[in-house]
């Protein structure tokens, strides 16, 4: 795919931008680490406990909602391009598709999943 050469080059440029800059900075910056400096920041107090705490299941539900509507979006793009060729039938198909997923959104809404408490 010749036309994606630019994408590859741009991605590589973005990826390598940071290490190159850090390398340049290495000539200028000091490097004097000691134990207290390397402690995890916690508002000035000694840090306690682990950073790995459990998170609420609601994150997972939002992730699942995102997945469902992301897939819907992917179906919408080819439809959007062809919408005027498909005519009213295509519109009805998509309205049905959206309606089924909106049922899921309404269910989540009624169950209080969309509340961030």
């Amino acid at each position: 795919m010749d036309s994606y050469l630019e994408v590859v080059i741009f991605v590589a440029a973005g990826f390598l931008f940071v290490p190159v800059t850090m390398l340049v900075g290495k000539l200028l910056r000091p490097h004097r680490p000691y134990a207290e400096k390397l402690v995890t920041y916690e508002c000035g107090e000694p840090s306690h406990g682990s950073a790995q705490i459990r998170y609420h299941a609601r994150y997972y539900l939002f992730g699942l909602l995102f997945l469902v509507f992301d897939i819907e979006t992917v179906f919408l793009y080819p439809w959007a391009v062809m919408v005027r060729h498909l005519g009213p039938i295509g519109l009805i198909e998509m309205v049905v598709f959206i309606a089924v997923l909106v049922v899921g959104l309404v269910y989540a809404w009624c169950k209080g999943v969309l509340e961030w408490v």
Binding site: Y55, F66, E93
Partner: protein, 232 residues
């Protein structure tokens, strides 16, 4: 040996190596991120095969949504450091006062909420005005769409997106609609499993901790990050 072969070899090694690391790395979050790398490599393979739409879909759904879902699933499981630790302060009174657990809180965004009674007459006028505004909007849109002179079809339609659209919405219309039902089933199933008790029976009661409890005990929410501090 041309560029495509080089790219294919690179992607192949990337996919195999990251896939191998998914099952060998001891840290589970790393495994999830290696999986994302593996997905990205697969998107590259799609690109090499000329399926650019599929490549973008692969990145959007697998690297974006599925990996995020896996990460969230990891974060709600209990890491060894936390296991066996008493979950403190997650009762109904343990919330932040700033979160404002008062009634009708959920209505604030949409501008709902209880209205005084004398507003009834005004509401009629507001309805009429809103209807007029909507009619005006539709009429204005009609004028704009008529006058916009939109091209019937853009000059350079992709070799992938447009044929895909035609196929999905004519030949494969039924599988497409079934896909929405499958997605709905997944969503409803996950919600049913994780929300045991209907959290707002009367419509105003705020959700309290135990209603979200997973298997065996209370789930420490993100707020309890502070509460866990006192332990090793």
């Amino acid at each position: 040996m041309n560029w495509e072969m080089v790219a294919f070899a690179f992607l192949g090694v990337l996919i195999l190596a990251s896939g191998f690391r998914v099952i060998t790395t001891p840290r589970i979050v790393h495994a999830a991120l290696y999986l994302a790398l593996c997905f990205t490599g697969v998107a590259g393979i799609f690109l090499l095969l000329g399926a650019d739409f599929l490549a973008a879909t692969q990145v959007l759904i697998y690297v974006g949504a599925v990996t995020t879902l896996i990460i969230f699933a990891i974060m709600l499981s209990s890491p060894p450091e936390v296991r066996g630790e008493p979950a403190r302060g997650s009762g109904p009174g343990g919330g932040e006062p700033a979160r404002g657990a008062g009634p009708a809180r959920g209505d604030e965004v949409l501008g709902g909420g209880p209205r005084p009674e004398g507003v009834q007459a005004e509401r009629g006028w507001v309805g009429v005005l809103a209807a007029l505004a909507a009619l005006g909007f539709v009429a204005a849109m009609g004028v704009v769409y008529r006058g916009a002179g939109l091209p019937a079809q853009a000059a350079s339609l992709g070799r992938t997106t447009a044929p895909l659209g035609r196929q999905i919405f004519t030949t494969y219309a039924i599988p497409f609609e079934v896909a929405s039902v499958v997605l709905l089933a997944a969503l409803v199933g996950a919600i049913y499993l994780s929300v045991r008790v209907p959290p707002r029976p009367s419509g105003t009661t705020p959700v309290s901790g135990p209603s979200h409890a997973g298997a065996g005990g209370e789930m420490p929410g993100e707020r309890e990050g502070g509460a866990n501090r006192g332990t090793p």
